[in-house]
């Protein structure tokens, strides 16, 4: 089943293109929308939630037109990215008010809101003013208002930003469960491993275009076809370089003060070998291993070039 379908969808802000000729079908289940900041994720989210009108093309959500169709929001819950609230209200008051706006009778609204707050583990803080909430709590109350109506489709714009690790894990579990129960979630993020933890189905967006879609592992393989950069801070970088030079897949080596930067076309094998070398202490102690390629912008550069 298709939950979101766009055809040649474009959005311009004056001379600036926010989204460019996007034709995409989002199936039911959990789908990740992955892209660096400014890639067009929020524009896409605003178009599928009817906050923006397409400049060109069309978008349908759950088979219905979006723009000027408020009844659609009986079936859709939206958690926006912005950290914005009625700060003077308590979490319970705020979610209750929005639940009432979602069509629940006043008699049921408080109970529905309480349950939603319980879902995000915020019930014990429900009577506290939102203005006094931490960043993580604010993210959770925002999530609560989106899922309170038990919508068929949950649209979450960067929902994990600012959450502590435990709540992040629980929220990820919640999103996965939502998908397993036959409902759908479109969740955006600029962090690859977050999306990988949530779903295998992704849309990759960059510069207002969908540059890849499908299975996240295929996309990962596509990424892995390109040289992967590894930064190694070590006691003896030159000795390390000598050993690594003979390794299959090493494309280039470069020295930096106290460190070695390696480009490899076989990152998995490279990391395995590096771990083994570190365990043997063959080339002195290895202090730090990072990959600048974890920077998503680099990933998108690969994708756009490929």
């Amino acid at each position: 089943m298709t939950v979101i379908a766009t055809e040649h969808l474009s959005k311009w802000y004056g001379q600036v293109s926010g989204l460019n000729d996007v034709t995409v079908v989002v199936p039911s289940g959990v789908t990740g929308l992955l892209g660096p900041n400014g890639a067009g994720k929020s524009t896409f989210m605003k178009l599928v939630t009817g906050q923006l009108k397409p400049s060109q093309g069309q978008v349908r959500v759950l088979g219905e037109a979006v723009w000027g169709n408020p009844k659609l929001f009986l079936r859709v819950g939206f958690c926006p990215e912005q950290d914005a609230f009625y700060e003077r209200m308590t979490g319970l008051e705020w979610v209750t008010a929005l639940v009432r706006l979602s069509g629940f009778p006043p008699a049921d609204a408080a109970a529905v809101a309480s349950r939603a707050l319980e879902t995000v583990d915020l019930l014990d803080q429900a009577d506290k003013k939102i203005g006094a909430y931490s960043k993580g709590m604010r993210q959770r109350v925002k999530l609560a208002q989106a899922l309170a109506g038990d919508p068929e489709l949950l649209i979450l714009d960067e929902p994990l930003n600012g959450m502590d690790p435990i709540m992040r894990r629980r929220t990820m579990q919640l999103i996965r469960d939502w998908g397993r129960e036959g409902r759908s979630v479109l969740v955006s993020s600029h962090v690859l491993h977050e999306i990988e933890s949530l779903t295998s189905n992704v849309l990759v967006i960059n510069n207002g275009r969908i540059v890849a879609e499908g299975n996240v592992h295929q996309i990962r393989e596509l990424i892995d076809e390109h040289p992967h950069t590894v930064f190694i801070r070590a006691q003896e970088p030159r000795a390390l370089a000598r050993d690594l030079l003979a390794e299959d897949g090493v494309v280039s080596l470069r020295f930096e003060p106290g460190a070695l930067v390696v480009e490899t076309s076989r990152p998995d094998a490279f990391y395995a070998r590096l771990t083994e070398m570190a365990a043997r202490g063959a080339a002195g102690a290895i202090e730090e291993v990072t990959s600048p390629d974890d920077n998503l912008q680099a990933v998108f550069s690969y994708l756009v070039k490929s």
């Binding site: 009986l74 926006p80 069509g103 879902t119 038990d150």
Partner: protein, 289 residues
């Protein structure tokens, strides 16, 4: 509904059925949400200061009068308490406070939500955007009315001698009604400005303190294109003959009939709100990230 990420779905806690709120139901729910926010907004402090001024003036007048001195004289003749009250109603409340409050609240009905980035929550509900706007407009009417009308009543109690209050009560009620009408009409016009314009406050200032002032002093038909022309036709106070009062009389010469005023003001209100609704239904409100 799954109540916790770690718990399976429990039929006993299923979400109760719901329907999209009717238009007026949506209006009522937006009103509920907005009235508290509006009453406790930064503007309330501003409104309290603005409305405190005439009360303070009346208090000073009362103290001076108690000391045996006429607080207001026109060409040497003392002005009575009811006449002073009438002058305050016209010059302070209707010509200044009502347009100012209409402007500051009306232009901000959606602008505040845009600025605070909370509009998303209202526009992603099964409620028509028009219901959101009307609900917020009604919240404005109630919020300003709740503060302005008591302020004017206090001024009346301070200025009008106790023995004349009975005979002046009808005038007070008419004045209260007049103020309510003024708040509603100015609010509607400025709501339209707030939904349609990028800088509604500037446009509002030009309209209320530029156009309306100038047009009222111009001979001919121009004054018919102001709100104040029709509001003045509803002023119940007798106009004294001389000085400041005669200026007032000159300004409000050739008053239109009450029926004409009511029709014109109702027309301005309905047309403004209708246009504002049309704009809101069609306009994109881009919230800056």
């Amino acid at each position: 509904m799954t109540l916790s990420a770690d718990r399976p779905r429990d039929p006993a806690t299923a979400v109760p059925p719901r329907r999209p709120p009717s238009f007026w139901n949506g209006v009522a729910r937006v009103f509920d949400l907005s009235i508290g926010e509006m009453l406790w907004s930064r503007r309330t402090l501003f409104m309290a200061i603005v409305l405190g001024a005439p009360v303070l003036l009346a208090l000073v007048a009362r103290v001076v009068q108690a000391a045996g001195i006429a607080p207001l004289r026109v060409d040497g003749a003392p002005v009575s308490g009811p006449a002073t009250f009438g002058i305050l109603v016209w010059w302070v409340y209707l010509r200044f406070i009502v347009p100012v409050l209409g402007m500051f609240y009306g232009t901000a009905l959606l602008a505040d939500e845009v600025e605070d980035k909370t509009l998303t929550y209202l526009f992603t509900r099964p409620v028509a955007r028009s219901a959101v706007l009307i609900g917020k407009y009604l919240a404005y009417c109630v919020c300003t009315g709740l503060v302005v009308l008591p302020s004017m009543t206090i001024v009346f109690l301070l200025l009008v001698p106790f023995e004349e209050m009975g005979s002046e009560l009808a005038t007070l009620l008419t004045d209260l009604g007049l103020l309510a009408v003024g708040l509603a009409v100015y609010g509607a016009v400025f709501t339209l400005a707030g939904t349609a314009m990028r800088r509604p406050l500037v446009a509002g200032l030009v309209f209320a303190f530029g156009w309306e002032q100038i047009a009222m002093l111009m001979p001919g038909y121009l004054r018919r294109f102001t709100l104040v022309y029709y509001l003045q036709g509803l002023v119940p106070h007798a106009i004294p003959d001389e000085g400041l009062a005669s200026l007032l009389a000159a300004v409000i010469s050739e008053p239109p009939t009450v029926a004409t005023c009511l029709i014109a003001l109702a027309g301005a209100l309905v047309v403004s709100l209708w246009l504002a609704v049309r704009v809101v239904e069609r306009r994109e409100y881009v919230l800056e990230q």
